[in-house]
Subunit: 506 residues, 2 copies
Amino acid sequence: MTAPAAPPAYDELRKLHRDAATLNSVGSLLGWDQETYMPPAASAHRADQQGLIATLTHERKTTPRIGELLATCEAAKPSDPDIAANLREMRRDYHLATKLPGELVAELAKTTSLAQDAWKEARQKSDFALFAPWLEKVMALTRRKAECYGVPPDGELYDALLDEYEPGMTAREIDAIFIPLRTRLSALVARIAKSTKKPNARLLDLKAPQTAQHAFGLDILAAMGFDLNAGRLDTTAHPFCSGMAPGDTRLTTRYNTDSFLEPLYGTMHEAGHGLYEQGLPKESHWGEPLAEAVSLGLHESQSRMWENFVGRSRPFWAWALPKAAKHLSPLLDGVDLDEIYGAANTVEPSFIRVEADEATYNLHIMLRFQLERELISGRLAINDLPAAWNKTFKDYLGLDVPDDRRGCLQDVHWAFGLVGYFPTYTLGNLFAAQFWEKINADIPDLDDRMTRGDFAPLKAWLNTHIHAHGRRYRAAELCQRITGRPLSADPLVNHLNTKLAPLYGV
Amino acid sequence: MTAPAAPPAYDELRKLHRDAATLNSVGSLLGWDQETYMPPAASAHRADQQGLIATLTHERKTTPRIGELLATCEAAKPSDPDIAANLREMRRDYHLATKLPGELVAELAKTTSLAQDAWKEARQKSDFALFAPWLEKVMALTRRKAECYGVPPDGELYDALLDEYEPGMTAREIDAIFIPLRTRLSALVARIAKSTKKPNARLLDLKAPQTAQHAFGLDILAAMGFDLNAGRLDTTAHPFCSGMAPGDTRLTTRYNTDSFLEPLYGTMHEAGHGLYEQGLPKESHWGEPLAEAVSLGLHESQSRMWENFVGRSRPFWAWALPKAAKHLSPLLDGVDLDEIYGAANTVEPSFIRVEADEATYNLHIMLRFQLERELISGRLAINDLPAAWNKTFKDYLGLDVPDDRRGCLQDVHWAFGLVGYFPTYTLGNLFAAQFWEKINADIPDLDDRMTRGDFAPLKAWLNTHIHAHGRRYRAAELCQRITGRPLSADPLVNHLNTKLAPLYGV
């Protein structure tokens, strides 16, 4: 709660933020509905609705009144830590919201919309030349965007973009972690690729009825502590989590795959995001930074923790296998713990990021981080991207990319102008691994508890140490406070080595 | 389309109306979601979202700029009939939207919200005394509302309220139709009540699985021509239709009843509303009166036509029975056409309006019309309402009301301040009957076509003669244009007599 001494200017500031957040939450519902239940013929008008709500939200976020109120509040140098944290982050948001000229925002919206169409065609035809001129335009506009945001002292243009998704993080800091991570992961993946010992992977092809998978998924959500009274699980083409409003966090998953494991991990991943959203203090601080997530990387740490550190663990499967066998009966009859645990931890270099396993995934990300940084700086020309991609892919994952569809055309991010976004995926894995070590130190019997299906202490730990703070601390500070040291590659590498070495005999 | 000579003021006027309608459509989605998929814990924030969207919509509908633009456009005396119709109705809407002082709107919102709570408790306890003081307040405020709208020349206070739901209609005009209707319906219902010949009603208690009923309902929607590419069918506690946006008309129904007939007719009723919404020219005139429904009575005529004139007809069942038997197998094995047709036309006086049959329903409505008119005029005191209700009920339906729960406390409308709303239900039945005669004259083989499941000519007729016009004509004018005469009680009475006399041997 806010301290009683909060000045009227601060109360007005909170009210303005609350209204903007409420409008924004309406936009989130429009977006959720569009992916779930909206009739196809409604799409043209849905764009009008979204455009109008986005305009109204933007007006509220950029009103000069916020600037005036911020200046008044900051001048008072409030000692209340809640107020200080909110003001710091509100200032940041106001800066980002007001820094881009309207003409650039409109140009970016229009160009990225057309670039997405070009990308779709280019990917389908595996023809980079069709996308290249659009990527050129998007990168030029993205560079202008970075210049408007402003480059930090001693930083580079890329930092200004990264900051949007991972506040306060710089490319140089990421390099310091990614470089050792890459070397050690590449070595591990190479050893695994050469190993003759493989987990039995036949379970990856087991098709189960959708209703049975959904019921199993709901059981898992309940065990994780996801509150279905304040949320839902639906199906969409692409799974997502929308923590749209107080008491309203909606997850989606998809079941149309060959394996029941992929949907399960999709559900657990989104539920990890969902637990973060449900754990934020939205009832008391709606619209304020104190009720918002720290960063994309921190958010991803929550989804990856439940997906990989819980969901691909042996204790989890000791509990979940009988449950799964019952729901999916008779599909898993005779399957033992070793078999399901092995299948859940299959590692094999492949071309497509979104299909990659826990170990190789990060190599896909580091490749993208390196190349997009070079694209923005101008060190890499657009036309040289495919060759650079393929060469780096061979270096990192040991495979020859057969075509651009399975190479530099596979992701839509760059067509959207999302530069600086990719590294947050691996930052999420790194945060998760480092938190996981601390969690196991704080809850020494966590494995035993998970074996019994008791995930309550884990959820409570995450609620207390991460979710409850909102944006009070930046990610690096939160990591330092929780784990006592800065983010490092060691915990993730150790986790993967410890788990995968026995499975693959390496 | 608008004539090329449309002045800039008119274009601006259309733009303002389009934006207001788009915002309003967002509110409709919030409302739909609230009844269908919203998690329970989201309800407090949903009220904030709805409040904010309602405020923004109201601001747009009452901006003085609309008044200026209307004056400019009206002064130009446009000859284009589209423009003239839009201006006439936009003027009406602006008048209604700006006529109530903000203080009265707020007072009404607050009082009716509390009155609804009081009504709920009073109904549950069947204790009118708990509701009486609230009804007193609501009626006083509603009277003030009517005074703000203004009484038409030679009219009464009630007309100002009725006009909100049935533009241009007066209580005196309704009386001229309702009085003969009541006499003749009461006589018919009394004869039926005394008859020893009854249709076999055992089908009214057949419970069918929800999935089978839903699949059957979707088949019926498809046959009716409801476009599921531009709409949906979901389940809610109370069925409704929301024609929320271009390409987006959502129906709901409910299956938790003892009979499969009630959900079927619920679905057909809402789909009748839905066909009207889908038939309005929303793509070309979104936000303009030309793309909106004429009145509540006209809207109800569309739902009642499909529910009663189609759905309770013998030709419909000749086609639908085999379909139903297949979907609900083996529930309807051995049921013949006479049996299902009889069950669908069961007539029996009962206490609750929403459970009433096609014939007695209108008697429930006429009672409410009479009493609410007396309440508003002050001729009937609040405390005398229960006695007046029970006496009138005995007169109209021949039954002694056992308690107020099954009497004057059964409907929520008055707690909402909805006075002048009830008669539109029976106006809907009257319009439907009068249109139905004309439709059968225009499509002489309609019965044959329905027997074959071919409802396309009926839908096309409704599209052309009613839906396509939007609010170009008021209801009375539309009725005159289509049927060549003013609205009358005869078609409805003839329809019921012709159908029910042979079934009941009266």
